[in-house]
Symmetry: C2
Subunit: 146 residues, 2 copies
DNA sequence: AGTCAATAGTTAGCTAACTATCTATTTGTG
DNA sequence: CACAAATAGATAGTTAGCTAACTATTGACT
């Protein structure tokens, strides 16, 4: 057996993988009745927040790459939750806005997202949550550098 | 625009997704010279740690499902880093052990994993890391329940 | 003005995970 | 003991992300 102090079981990095997978699964499940997924719901959340947004910016906000967004946009467009208009300023861009139906769907989903977050963070003090967020932010910054 | 206090940007749940993706990418990159991936390296780590382990237990430790492990096992077996023997006790089980080459590969990769972890957690106090780990553990427990 | 590099988005094809379903074996119960 | 339920692992097919390579457009620099 290899001798080392290194212990994967107590590894924060491993925990993030586990967490993100589990959270995504549960959140997707919760959104299923709305006909949305974590990705599509988060997309309309950010489209609404920015009123008007292009795909590149949205992809960055969602933490995915451009090509991954294409299918999400197509789904939302098919469901008539968003409207896609060519930018008058830059013909390469497509500007995304919510349709009234899209806004309704977002609004319906919001309490669910809030409830989800509350359930997940139940029993944890705000102070500890803040520290955890700071730690995660720092780790992300560190990892991005190398 | 939907009116809400809810803010995805400051959302710990979203950060875990970003983190796990980035960490996996960087760690995979670091392991590339060894001909291993995050999954295969973590697998041999746990196989070594348990001396002898079946696929079900290993999958749980890796945080993946049985079918996902099958290909990883095949790769490790092909690279002659592990040995697969049918369990004498239960003919359904296959017991996994490291070959000498597997142990060498694990040992070679260990300093790299340690260094990786140090780099990512650089500039964060141990106290804060502990709190973050506790917070993550609690969130995982909470999420598992519903 | 003309060309060349950069940018927004798309398409095609890959990967690593997943679920559902299958076989072989084991366990537990009438 | 026999048979039903559970368990270990494999297979097939799906998914959500990725990279690489493409088109169309824009911007920058002679």
């Amino acid at each position: 057996m290899a001798t080392t102090q290194f212990d994967l079981d107590s590894c924060l990095l491993c925990m993030t993988a586990r967490s993100s997978k589990l959270f995504a699964k549960k959140f997707n499940l919760a959104l299923q009745p709305f006909g949305l997924t974590k990705s599509t719901w988060t997309a309309i959340y950010y489209i609404d927040k920015h009123e008007q947004i292009n795909q590149k910016t949205l992809a960055e906000l969602l933490g995915i790459k451009g090509p991954s967004l294409v299918k999400i946009i197509a789904q939302l467009q098919l469901a008539q939750l968003i409207k896609v208009t060519p930018s008058p300023v830059d013909k390469r861009e497509r500007l995304l806005t919510l349709t009234p139906a899209g806004l309704t769907r977002l609004t319906d989903g919001l309490p669910l997202a809030e409830k989800f977050q509350q359930q997940v963070t139940h029993g944890i003090t705000q102070a500890d949550l803040d520290i955890a967020a700071t730690v995660m932010t720092q780790m992300l910054e560190n990892a991005e550098q190398f």
